[in-house]
C-alpha cells in the first residue's frame, strides 16, 4: 500500500510539474544558458590571459552543469512540500494510514524522476562538447545521477518540511545549496584552490558526485572506468542513505 501511495504522489509531482510550463522551461533552460554564458565568458577570459582555452572550459564546466540541473530540479521539487502545507493538501495526506511515509517517498521518487529526466536531456548534448559516453558509461551515469537526485531531494525535503515560507526556502537555497555546488568542483578544480577551500570541498559529498560525473563523461568508448569511481559511489550512497534516514525520522515526528 505504501508503494501505491508513494507512486501515486510521485506521479502527482510530475503531473503538476508538466502543467506548469514556466517551471519546465526554467528548470531546463536556466542551467544550459548558465553553462553557455559562463563557460564561454570565463573560458574566453582565461584564454585571453593564456591560461585555458574557451572550448576547454565549456567542456570542464559541463559535468558541473549536469550537477546543477540535478540540484535545481531536486531542490525545487521539494518547494512543493511547503506549498502543500500552505494550501492544505498536506494535512489530507497526514491523516491517511501511511501518509507520512507516502509523502516522503512520493516526493523522493517524484523529485528524483524529474531530476534524472532533465539531467539526461542535457547529457544528450554531451557529444557537442568533448564527451562521447557509450552505453556502459551511460548506465553508470544514470546510476550516479539518480543517487545524487535522491540525496538532493532528501536534503531539500529535510529543510522544506518544517518551513512554512517559500521565500525563506529560496533564501536558504542561495545561502546553502548554491555554495554547496560552488564547492563541488563544478566551477573550478580543487587542485588550484586555497587550502581551506580544498578542505571544504573534501567534506562536500557533492564533490564526489561531480568527480564521478566528470570521470564518467571523460571515459571514451573502450577505455576502463575511472579508478576512484567506486570510492565516489560509496560516499554518495552513504550520504544519500543518511539524508533519507534523517527525512524518515523527521516526518515520523508528530507535533
Amino acid at each position: 500500500m505504501i508503494m501505491q501511495a508513494s507512486f501515486s504522489l510521485a506521479v502527482r509531482e510530475i503531473v503538476r510539474f508538466l502543467r506548469q510550463k514556466n517551471r519546465v522551461i526554467g528548470a531546463l533552460a536556466t542551467p544550459v544558458i548558465f553553462w553557455f554564458l559562463l563557460g564561454s565568458g570565463v573560458g574566453r577570459s582565461l584564454a585571453s590571459s593564456g591560461i585555458r582555452e574557451r572550448a576547454d572550459y565549456l567542456t570542464y564546466f559541463f559535468p558541473g552543469i549536469v550537477l546543477l540541473i540535478i540540484l535545481f530540479t531536486a531542490i525545487f521539487s521539494t518547494v512543493s512540500v511547503i506549498e502543500d502545507r500552505r494550501e492544505g493538501f498536506l494535512q489530507g495526506v497526514l491523516v491517511a494510514p501511511d501518509g507520512r511515509s507516502a509523502i516522503l517517498f512520493g516526493k523522493l521518487i517524484g523529485g528524483t524522476l524529474l531530476a534524472v529526466f532533465q539531467a539526461l536531456i542535457v547529457v544528450l548534448i554531451a557529444p557537442y562538447t568533448d564527451y562521447h559516453p557509450d552505453a556502459r558509461v551511460l548506465m553508470y551515469l544514470v546510476a550516479m545521477i539518480a543517487l545524487l537526485a535522491v540525496g538532493l531531494t532528501a536534503l531539500g525535503f529535510l529543510f522544506a518540511w518544517p518551513m512554512d515560507s517559500t521565500q525563506g526556502f529560496h533564501a536558504l537555497i542561495n545561502l546553502f545549496f548554491v555554495p554547496l555546488w560552488f564547492l563541488s568542483g563544478a566551477l573550478f578544480p580543487a587542485s588550484g584552490a586555497a587550502e581551506w577551500i580544498r578542505t571544504l570541498m573534501r567534506f562536500n559529498p557533492l564533490s564526489y558526485g561531480h568527480d564521478a560525473l566528470a570521470g564518467l563523461l571523460a571515459t571514451r568508448p573502450g577505455m576502463p572506468l575511472p579508478l576512484d569511481l567506486s570510492h565516489d559511489f560509496s560516499i554518495v550512497i552513504a550520504s544519500t542513505l543518511l539524508l533519507v534516514m534523517a527525512c524518515a525520522l523527521q516526518v515520523s515526528r508528530r507535533s
Binding site: L9, R16, L90, G92, L94
Partner: protein, 317 residues
C-alpha cells in the same frame, strides 16, 4: 473506556500546550456511534487543536482519546482507516482535476483501480458534481470545492466523519446547502459525525455539544438540556437607552432584569413570559424599538458560563 462498542470518539482529560502556552485543559467528550457531536467555541478557544488531536495530526500530550474503540496513542494507523477528515482549509490539489484528486486520494488508501473508479463515479454523482470530473479544482467555486472534498473523504467509506469548521468562507446559502448534504450522507451511511464551529446556529442540529472557551470545556450535553438548564422563556426589549429603561422596568417587581448592549433582558420570576411581553410592549412602547419573546439560546449559555457576550469574542478573520 477504549473498548466501548457504542462510542465512536471518546476523550478523557485531554490537555495540550504549544511550548509554555496551555491551549487545552482537561477536555472530556463522548460521541455515540451514529451520533452528531459539535465542539462549539469562539475563535482561539482551542477547537482546531482538539480537532488535530482527534484526527491524529498532533500527538497526544495529556489524557487519552479513543476512536472506534482504539486508543490514538497506541493505534493511530488503524484509527486513520476509520476516519474521514474534512479540514477548515480544503485539502484538495488546485492544480489537479476533480477526478484526479479523488484518484490520488484513493491510491493513498490503497484502493484497487476498478473499485476506486466505481467509488469515484458513485461519489461524484451523490455530491452532484458528476459533470465536473474533468475540471481543475481551482476553477470551481468554494461550495463546489467543498462538495469535491466530501466526495473525496467518503471514498474510503469511513465510519466517523470529522469536520473542522466545514463552512468557513462560504456564504449562508451555500452553508445551508452543505449542511443538508452532510445530513443526507450521515443518514444514508450511518456515519458518526464530530465537527467544530464558531457559528452558534450550526451547533443546533447536533445531538450533543461541548462549549469550549479559552481551552476549557465550559458546558456540554444535549442542546435541549443545556437550554432548559438556563431556565424558561424571557423577553428582550430593544432600546437606545437600556440602562434607563432597565431602571424603570425593575420597579415592576417579580422579574429579573439584565442590561445588554442596546437591549434589556427581562426574565419572569413567576408566571409565563408571553403575557409579560405583551404588558411590557404596552407600557414601554415609546422607549422600546422591539419586544421579543425569547427561548434561552446557546449565546445565553455562553454568557452565563463565561460572563462574556458571544459577540464580544474575536470574529472570523
Amino acid at each position: 473506556m477504549a473498548g466501548s462498542s457504542l462510542c465512536a470518539v471518546q476523550a478523557d482529560g485531554v490537555g495540550y500546550s504549544y511550548g509554555r502556552k496551555r491551549v487545552l485543559e482537561n477536555i472530556d467528550l463522548r460521541l455515540e456511534e451514529g451520533g452528531m457531536f459539535c465542539v462549539l467555541g469562539p475563535n482561539g478557544s482551542g477547537k482546531t487543536t482538539l480537532f488535530k488531536l482527534i484526527s491524529t495530526i498532533f500527538a497526544l500530550q495529556d489524557g487519552e482519546i479513543s476512536v472506534a474503540g482504539r486508543s490514538l496513542r497506541q493505534f493511530p494507523t488503524p484509527v486513520r482507516r476509520k476516519i474521514g477528515v474534512l479540514f477548515q482549509n480544503p485539502a484538495v490539489d488546485m492544480k489537479l482535476t476533480v477526478r484526479e484528486n479523488l484518484r490520488y486520494h484513493g491510491n493513498l488508501y490503497g484502493l484497487e483501480t476498478y473499485d476506486l473508479e466505481k467509488r469515484i463515479n458513485k461519489n461524484l454523482e451523490a455530491l452532484g458534481v458528476e459533470n465536473r470530473g474533468g475540471e481543475m479544482v481551482e476553477s470551481l467555486s468554494g461550495g463546489l470545492r467543498r462538495r469535491v472534498e466530501i466526495a473525496k473523504v467518503l471514498l474510503t467509506r469511513p465510519s466517523i466523519l470529522l469536520m473542522d469548521e466545514p463552512t468557513t468562507g462560504l456564504d449562508p446559502a451555500i452553508r445551508s446547502e452543505l449542511w443538508s448534504i452532510i445530513s443526507g450522507i450521515r443518514n444514508s451511511r450511518k456515519l458518526s459525525v464530530l465537527f467544530t464551529t464558531h457559528l452558534l446556529e450550526e451547533a443546533e442540529p447536533a445531538d450533543e455539544i461541548m462549549l469550549l472557551d479559552q481551552g476549557h470545556s465550559v458546558a456540554s450535553g444535549k442542546v435541549s438540556e443545556l437550554r432548559s438548564s438556563l431556565g424558561k422563556e424571557y423577553v428582550r426589549i430593544g432600546t437606545y437607552q437600556p440602562k434607563k429603561l432597565a431602571a424603570r422596568i425593575r420597579k415592576e417587581g417579580e422579574i429579573e432584569v439584565t442590561v445588554e448592549p442596546a437591549a434589556v433582558k427581562v426574565v419572569p420570576l413567576r408566571g409565563l413570559a408571553a403575557p409579560l411581553a405583551i404588558r411590557l410592549w404596552r407600557e414601554y412602547s415609546k422607549e422600546a424599538t422591539s419586544v421579543t419573546l425569547c427561548r434561552p439560546t446557546l449565546e445565553d449559555l455562553f454568557l452565563q458560563k463565561t460572563g462574556r457576550l458571544w459577540s464580544s469574542t474575536p470574529g472570523e478573520i
